[in-house]
Assembly symmetry: C2
DNA sequence: CTATTGAACGATAATAATTATCCTCCTGTC
DNA sequence: GACAGGAGGATAATTATTATCGTTCAATAG
């Protein structure tokens, strides 16, 4: 948590009580919580906190690099009628999704057993980066 | 499209005009469209179609296996305060997300250049399947 | 230690995305 | 062609997220 104070200072962010509690809730959770879940947990300590504050700080933290979104494409449903094996290039700026054949990657292979009795079905790989257009100009 | 008619019959789905047009729009698109985008395209052919119909059929097709969602976790923002390199086990039933260290997979490596001038930044791997609880019972 | 200032908070309205409802209509079968 | 049940259309409802705006608090200077 002292590290959090330092990072805030570096980033020019006020180290408010709310931010500390929110960050601690996030950092101490292993379940990759939703904003609502964080809100529910944080309210135990700050009953008067607003859900908007949780959302705002999640965005702030994410932009500051303290936090990541588990899925880059969570904002809207994206559909794929291509049922063959392939992977996706995903532009983190414009959210374009481009197919590439799976042979473009070395095969994905597990080393040893998965924890927790998890039963794997398939691998989903997203290659995150910038599409040609977004890589070129900051204009779009 | 004849294949689509057959699949509908197999699945016990009525092969309506709307479904045909919606499926064709999906299958002919390389851009992994959103429901809204499909709606906009389909309206060229069926101006009176309802957005709800598009959503309903997308769900129907997805459940029937004619279609996939690009991202399993699109429904709500999920957060990750673990900035170290790791991958995720994602339960497709309950949407649990479990970290695994990246050493549990053979290294992800590109073979050759990416198309379209795409500039890769990092690889995101999700191992899709069922968590222990969901694998056991159909009860949750 | 207090005053000051801008950033952050809380409450809530607004927007966006998705789902549910309900009545009418069409597809598939007899 | 008639019938039955699934499907469509219009729209309300719900859920998730963002914006607004007045008030409060954290950080810094004095």
């Amino acid at each position: 948590m002292d590290m959090f104070r330092k990072r805030c200072k570096q980033l020019g962010l006020a180290c408010t009580h709310q931010r500390l509690i929110i960050y601690r809730a996030l950092a101490s959770s292993a379940s990759h919580p939703t904003p609502e879940a964080i809100y529910d947990q944080v309210r135990h300590e700050i009953p008067s906190i607003s859900l908007a504050t949780v959302y705002k700080n999640i965005k702030t933290f994410t932009e500051a690099g303290l936090l990541r979104e588990v899925s880059v494409l969570h904002d809207s449903l994206r559909l794929d009628a291509n049922l063959g094996n392939h992977h996706h290039l995903v532009c983190t700026r414009c959210k374009a999704v481009i197919d590439i054949p799976e042979e473009k990657l070395d095969p994905i292979r597990l080393r040893g057993k998965l924890p927790d009795g998890f039963v794997a079905d398939r691998f989903l790989v997203e290659i995150l980066g910038l599409c040609a257009a977004c890589a070129k100009g900051r204009t779009n």
